[in-house]
């Protein structure tokens, strides 16, 4: 039989936050940024098949940092939610803000009530059109949702990377420039991330309904050269 000791709510939340932060810090970071034609998501990812970036819907993309199995389940739930919402109502009724809110609620619930908090951070990106603006929603492990104005950084080293990226870019740039800035913000001054270890996805209007494209290693190499 186990004994329960009193733990103050402050202490409990502090412990849980520390636990989640540690878990997230073990993974590599990612940058999402708005550029003049769309949104680019850049993740440092040594694996070519266990993706951190994914298409959710016609104009919505997903990125996750932290524990792969945990954010991938959320990614799948997001695709299911988007496809069934579009099926029930209409494709134009699928809104990134609603999805980001669901993620925030779930992460918040898991943080306070779960066996353990989820060790993930989530980004929901939306490419704007006549109906909706271009948006980057960042959802933290405890359910805090923030609407990031131009770019967002997820993962362990977020603060440093954020500073580096903010310094290199103070207005909307082309895809090439934004990708370069994101890549060097992720790597820092002392190293270069090989292009095979960069996972890049973009949301851009090219006349198709689906705006998400995953860039190949060759395309990334060409843009960075």
């Amino acid at each position: 039989m186990s004994n329960y000791f009193y733990v103050s709510p402050e202490q409990l939340i502090k412990d849980r936050a520390e636990f989640a932060q540690k878990g997230i810090a073990r993974g590599r970071s990612l940058v999402a940024a708005i550029y003049d034609q769309g949104v680019v998501l850049v993740a440092e990812n040594p694996s070519a098949s266990l993706n951190k970036i994914s298409e959710i819907y016609d104009r919505i993309a997903f990125a996750g940092a932290g524990k792969y199995n945990e954010f991938d389940r959320l990614r799948e739930a997001g695709i299911r939610w988007a496809d069934s919402t579009g099926y029930t109502y209409s494709r134009e009724d699928v809104d990134a803000r609603a999805l980001a809110n669901y993620y925030a609620q779930h992460l918040g619930d898991m943080f306070t009530e779960g066996q353990k908090p989820l060790e993930v951070e989530i980004l929901v990106a939306q490419l704007g059109n006549k109906l909706r603006p271009t948006k980057l929603y960042r959802v933290a492990y405890e359910g805090t949702i923030s609407d990031e104005p131009r770019f967002a950084v997820l993962g362990g080293d977020a603060e440093t990377i954020k500073e580096r990226f903010a310094q290199s870019e103070d207005s909307l740039q082309s895809l090439t420039v934004t990708l370069r800035n994101a890549s060097s913000a992720l790597s820092g001054p002392d190293r270069v991330i090989p292009t095979e270890e960069l996972e890049v996805g973009i949301l851009e209007d090219r006349g198709n309904r689906r705006t998400f494209v995953r860039l190949t290693d060759e395309q990334v190499k060409e843009l960075l050269s």
Binding site: S49, N51, S54, E55, I56, R73, L74, E76, A77, G78, I79, R80, W81, D83, S84, T85, G86, Y87, T88, Y102, Y103, Q105, H106, R210
Partner: protein
């Protein structure tokens, strides 16, 4: 609609249909039968570099309900899906198919094989046709990118899926279209030959079956013609289709309606 999270043992995986069915989103079966619009002729013909599909545009209830229905739609970039039977259920099936193939692709980051897509529809058709009088019979044709060949799959009323290596037809005008196809089909057809044969077979069906709409020169509405090849689903533009049917019509006028000769 909350966030659809599942534990590992209850997870529906990348199948949209199984998820939607379990969540009660997909339509349930009907037991009452109204005379809702139906009837069709759609033809699929294989050629050396893909498949051709030709479909009429008419929806028929007790009278002509619509003259410009699109019965062939891209289910995805490499797959064409045509419907016959209940219009409502057919459109529903199209929607489910389009959504499911895309859903699978997003969930797994890889596309279903053409055979996988054809098999996926079997239980959906079976469920519909065995529990509802609103029957639906689709025809699936596409480009099999891994085997570099065009392929055609037809279904029976119980959802059985059969691959056809020459041509296939669905709808009430099938017997007439089938006759023309049997006479005209060769295993070495090229794209042009397949388009010509498909148009002729549909003309025959429209000429003989009251529920199949032939070329409508008064309203300038013509059957749909599409190809699926290595470059994907392509719809033939209206003026080109109109020209094909105009030529057939002229030949038929010359022969005073006699269909014989060297496949007029």
């Amino acid at each position: 609609m909350g966030l659809p999270l599942f534990s590992a043992h209850a997870d529906p995986g990348p199948s949209f249909w199984h998820y939607a069915d379990g969540a009660g989103i997909a339509p349930s079966s009907a037991t009452h039968h109204d005379d809702t619009p139906h009837a069709t002729t759609v033809i699929a013909v294989r050629y050396d570099e893909g498949v051709v599909m030709v479909g009429d545009r008419q929806a028929t209830g007790n009278y002509i309900a619509s003259r410009d229905v699109r019965k062939i739609e891209p289910a995805d970039h490499f797959t064409a899906l045509a419907i016959s039977g209940s219009a409502a259920r057919g459109i529903e099936l199209l929607k489910i198919a389009q959504l499911s193939f895309e859903h699978y692709e997003k969930m797994t980051d890889s596309a279903l094989s053409l055979e996988g897509k054809a098999n996926y529809l079997s239980p959906i058709i079976q469920r519909n046709n065995l529990t509802s009088p609103l029957l639906v019979l689709p025809l699936l044709a596409g480009w099999d990118d891994s085997h570099r060949v065009g392929r055609i799959f037809e279904y029976d009323g119980a959802g059985g899926c059969y691959e056809r290596f020459d041509f296939a037809t669905i709808g009430s005008g099938s017997p007439f279209a089938e006759g023309a196809l049997r006479l005209g089909f060769r295993s070495d057809l090229d794209r042009e030959g397949a388009l010509e044969l498909g148009a002729l077979a549909l003309y025959e069906a429209g000429d003989n079956d009251p529920s199949t709409g032939g070329p409508d020169f008064v309203r300038n509405i013509f059957p749909m013609m599409i190809t699926v090849s290595a470059s994907g689903f392509q719809e033939i533009a209206g003026p080109e289709v109109g020209e094909r049917f105009r030529l057939i019509n002229e030949r038929r006028t010359e022969s005073r309606g006699v269909a014989g000769g060297s496949l007029r």
